[in-house]
């Protein structure tokens, strides 16, 4: 599971460099998120701009990643494509996460 991260001020931006977060990679995603966010000091933004498909297992893995970060590190999302956004809205997970249209919006908020 290819994730990369950059620090932007007090925010850690984790980018998913793959097109799918599905049942076949959900566990690896959760493990890689733990590794990438180990050194996070503040907020984390998960950049999903390259992701064009997510299933309920992938959604569960993102929720798990938020839970393992704990209450001291907020996890926001940015750049959801239409199908990814649909899954968040259908499950009402759009009410749990702060979702930003662009990475610039996420960093400015």
């Amino acid at each position: 599971m290819d994730l990369s991260s950059t620090v932007e001020g007090d925010t850690l931006v984790v980018t998913v460099n793959e097109s799918r977060i599905d049942a076949s990679v959900a566990i690896q995603f959760k493990d890689r998120m733990r590794e990438e966010t180990e050194t996070a000091s503040g907020r984390v933004v998960l950049n999903l701009s390259r992701v064009d498909f997510i299933d309920s297992s992938g959604l569960g893995a993102i929720v798990a990643a938020m839970k393992q970060l704990g209450a001291s590190h907020r996890l926001d999302l940015s750049c959801l494509n239409e199908n990814v956004d649909k899954v968040f809205r259908l499950t009402r997970m759009d009410t749990v996460f702060q979702i930003h249209q662009t990475l610039e919006d996420a960093l400015a908020s």
């Binding site: 049942a23 076949s24 498909f53 209450a71 199908n83 649909k86 259908l90 997970m93």
Partner: protein, 142 residues
């Protein structure tokens, strides 16, 4: 709009095979049809249905087989998914009640969303068990 010939895909019962089948479906749609035909919703529903088969009906099986057919006509997908796994519990479809999400962080659900999305997006969902095979059919407007 050109009609799309029925799409038939066979797969083994693993998550990697589900991914391969959904990518095959995408490629077939991209080849035959330039107009969007609600392929996104079809992919979401099929992903949940197929993963559910892999995780429950075919759990622990090495000889699990899944066959799916998607037929598009009159702005509607008719989908049939068959598998040789265990029957649905009590031979009934999952209720698909959406998990509550208005909860504290540590209580948020990490699963249970699959069939609630299927119920929201598909219609005329029917299940039959015959001769060791499950048959699930449904329709998606698109």
């Amino acid at each position: 709009m050109n009609s799309i010939s029925p799409i038939h895909i066979e797969l083994e019962g693993t998550p990697k095979e589900v991914r391969r089948a959904l990518l095959t479906l995408r490629n077939r749609l991209a080849d035959g049809q330039k107009e969007a035909v609600n392929a996104g919703i079809l992919e979401i529903v099929l992903g949940e249905v197929l993963n559910n088969v892999v995780e429950h009906a075919l759990t622990g099986r090495k000889d699990g087989r899944i066959a799916l057919t998607c037929d598009h006509s009159e702005q509607c997908w008719s989908v049939l998914v068959r598998d040789n796994g265990m029957p649905m519990p009590d031979h009934n479809l999952p209720s698909g009640i959406a998990p509550e999400v208005d909860l504290a962080l540590e209580d948020l659900p990490e699963g249970g969303f699959g069939w609630s999305m299927v119920r929201m997006l598909a219609r005329n969902i029917q299940y039959q068990r015959s001769k060791g095979w499950n048959s699930l059919s449904f329709q998606i407007v698109g």
